[in-house]
């Protein structure tokens, strides 16, 4: 075994044995649901129900119940979609890219981050779905033969590329997540005593026996899936950015969009992971596995991606002037000083300035500060999309068609509702799934566990 350098901080605190890890992860699943969980799931499912109500009202009445108008014909719908897809980037980045980079700390967070990713992508898919108006013909986005009643899809459209990119990403993420879960489900299967529980978990664990052969295959499949998932992390948000950047709208058309959107997505995804995990680690007493060093690493990812986004903002701003194209220049001047300047400055301060606080070691290792800033970042990233979409549209080439966007209660209700659905799903996951990749964690216990590291150092 490779000896880890002494200066590396341990990743599992205290003296843990293999059995302790199993107990700590499986324990909460077997015991009764804690009160806090019951309260949280009640609130979030009520919000979810309200959101579903709003969606049904929209489907029954029509897209007119949103605040869209002739000039701003794309607003919260696509903003929410991009926001959710962006959040859905962290999970696969953590599980795939960090696997390729051999980052052991990912093992404490990958499971829940991937679950979050899957739920976030589902939330994202809601918006284009309901925006179609006739959701019952939504299969028309697929390239089906004309006999199905649809016309052959337009392959030139980035919106169609989006359908492919996101569905591929979703499938691979789901498979990746599930493959990782199999040995852990098997561990739970061996623990639970109730006959129904036993049956369900043995079905879920696909007859996993823990043989060496199984493990070899498991590792091979993980590596292959990581290799497939890594380009997908890039492709999804690159193609989302092309929904805008292939156009000729000033403020939308700029070549930096693909990598800058990817970076922004990772940025917001990590912020969401922080928000959820800081609560989860406390509620489920996982402080020894997800501790300050993990939080610090994630905060470093946030500062890096946040700064990349900052450089991209400034690059766009500079090039809009440098280009000498007056429409480009105006688009950016209008962003910073027009009727939506408040949104622009919220975006700037939340996304570019606030993460810079993490340069201070005290702040990036403070759980309270991290929790607050993670929410600030998610607000900022929502406004980023709002700024890009609404501000670029609201002043047309013809001043006579200038307009503004005002969100209706249905706009707001659906957005809040998706947060409710998302949290409900996540809470369900936290209750019935192994929230840490416990079998993977066991592989690093002897090299990165605190007590073992201390012994080695002697």
């Amino acid at each position: 075994m490779q000896r880890e350098a002494a200066i590396r901080e341990p990743l599992i605190l205290g003296h843990k044995t293999y059995k302790d890890i199993t107990d700590d992860v499986v324990g909460p699943i077997m015991g009764p649901a804690p009160l806090g969980w019951k309260i949280m799931i009640t609130i979030s499912s009520l919000i979810a129900v309200y959101g579903v109500g709003c969606i049904l009202y929209l489907l029954g009445t029509g897209i007119g119940v949103w605040g869209l108008n002739k000039t701003v014909d794309w607003a919260w719908d696509i903003t929410n979609f991009v926001w959710w897809v962006g959040i859905g980037h962290a999970g696969t980045l953590i599980s795939a890219v960090l696997l390729l980079f051999r980052q052991k700390w990912r093992m404490a967070i990958n499971r829940s981050a991937e679950a979050m990713t899957i739920f976030a992508v589902i939330m994202a898919a809601v918006f284009p779905g309901i925006h179609m108006g006739r959701i019952w013909v939504s299969y028309w986005v697929l390239p089906l033969p004309n006999q199905f009643g649809s016309l052959w899809v337009n392959f030139n459209s980035p919106l169609l590329w989006d359908v492919f990119a996101i569905s591929t990403y979703f499938s691979v993420s789901l498979v990746f997540w599930y493959i990782g879960l199999i040995p852990d489900f098997a561990t739970i299967r061996d623990r639970v005593t109730g006959p129904w529980q036993k049956r369900v978990y043995s079905f879920l664990s696909f007859g996993w026996s823990g043989r060496a052969k199984h493990w070899t295959r498991f590792e091979e499949v993980s590596l292959v899936l990581a290799g497939i998932a890594t380009p997908l992390v890039f492709s999804v948000h690159s193609i989302v950015s092309m929904d805008f950047a292939t156009s000729v709208i000033p403020g939308w058309h700029t070549t930096i969009f693909p990598p800058y959107f990817v970076s922004g997505a990772v940025f917001s995804g990590f912020a969401m992971v922080q928000t959820l995990l800081l609560i989860m680690r406390k509620g489920m007493k996982l402080e020894n596995y997800i501790h300050v060093k993990h939080v610090e690493y994630m905060n470093i990812v946030i500062i890096v991606t946040g700064s990349i986004v900052g450089v991209a903002y400034l690059t766009e701003l500079f090039i809009s002037w440098y280009s000498g194209v007056e429409y480009e220049s105006y688009a950016f001047i209008n962003r910073a000083s027009g009727p939506y300047s408040w949104a622009y400055w919220i975006m700037m301060s939340c996304n570019v300035i606030s993460p810079q606080l993490y340069w201070f070691k005290k702040i990036r290792r403070s759980l309270v500060a991290t929790f607050v800033l993670s929410i600030v970042v998610n607000i900022g990233m929502w406004f980023e999309r709002y700024v890009i979409i609404v501000t670029s549209l609201h002043r047309d080439y013809l001043p006579s068609s200038w307009g503004e966007f005002h969100a209706t209660s249905i706009d707001i209700g659906i957005f809040i509702g998706t947060i409710g659905i998302f949290l409900t799903l996540f809470l369900g996951f936290a209750r019935f799934f192994p929230v840490l990749a416990l079998n993977e964690l066991k592989t690093i216990l002897k090299s990165s566990g605190e007590s073992y590291k201390n012994e080695q150092a002697k």
Binding site: S238, T246, H253, T255, T315, G324
Partner: protein, 418 residues
Amino acid sequence: MEFKFEGRLKLVTQVLMAVGVVALVGGFLTDTSDHHNRWWANLLINGFFYFSMALAALFFYALQYATESGWSAVLKRWFEALWGFLPWGAAVIVVVLLAGKFHAHHLYHWMDHTLYHEYMVEHGDHVHYVDEMEEGAVLNPNFDHVIAGKKAYFSDAFFWIRTLVYIATFLLFARMFRKWSLLEDEAPSLDLHYKQYKRGAVFLVVFAVFSSTLSWDWIMSIDTHWFSTLFGWYVFSGMWVSFMIFTNVSMLWLRSQGYFKEVNESHMHDLGKWMFAISMLWSYLWLSQFLLIWYSNIPEEVTYYMSRVLGDYKVPFLAMFFVNFAVPFYVLLARDAKRNPRFVIPVAILIFIAHFVDVYLLIVPGTMFDHNQFGFFEVGMFLGFLGLFMNRTFATLAKAPLISKNHPMLQESMELHY
């Protein structure tokens, strides 16, 4: 263990440099292009290509510290060795820019000061340019309102301050990292390690800004009207991949000569992975920039690709992309291929040349337009600079022990096994 820069390797670099000198002199004498643009363009291409590799080594070094990477600790001295070329590359770039300033060549259209003024007054042979209409003034036929709009950015003072600040910053950071690295050899010091860690992070911030702005200043401004927000990141990925290629091949050679025994198969595999991964990053950025511009077809942007995709440069431009993307993708995807020099070396040589062609095509279409020539001179310049680059790198490598001492992650790096 110390590296000795002598024998065949030294001779090879000297022969290459001699070829370069012949090309330099012969090329200048036979160059028939306007203002010797061809000669100067090639000086810039080579100066920038090799300088950017040394710069990428500095970036990668800082990246290793800032990310607490352990695997690369045995390669540290190699990265440091590459910085030996930084002052030489910087000098070539400064000479080209200075020559442009004094109108010895016409690579940078914006350096023509007559473009910025709307009116001119003729006094016999002498022409006086003015911004406002005045007595006896006529419209300046050279006036270019787009370039005039960029005047603030291209003003002499601002431009030269930028260029000198970039170079000075890079040289200072390289000097500082090298000093601390040698100091660490003398006695174990975690303080020094954490200093490198912190300065590494600071360097990454500086580099994130400068790598973009320097590519706007030195390269993008050649096509003065044209602009692309992605340009800086694209150039950056190109410098990074060229550096990874050079590192991979050099390390294979050094190991075959009995140096760097601590660098094992797993390290070579990791270097192969980097070469592969950054090739994909470069391809991704190439495609992002090309696709968005081609698809949108906005006249002021698409001109850049019109000359490259439709004109005389069509074959090298598309072939360059194909080689740089498809060859590493199909050949190096498999694990065993990345560990086998018989696959790595031919691919590396091929994409090294293709990345040179990439830099070549960043500069030549905007300077030589439809009158480009390619011959022994271009090849000679490429080889000559390669010789100089290798000469400086290996001479620097010989100045310190090959494996640094007391790096806190050295043991971990030596035990790397995957």
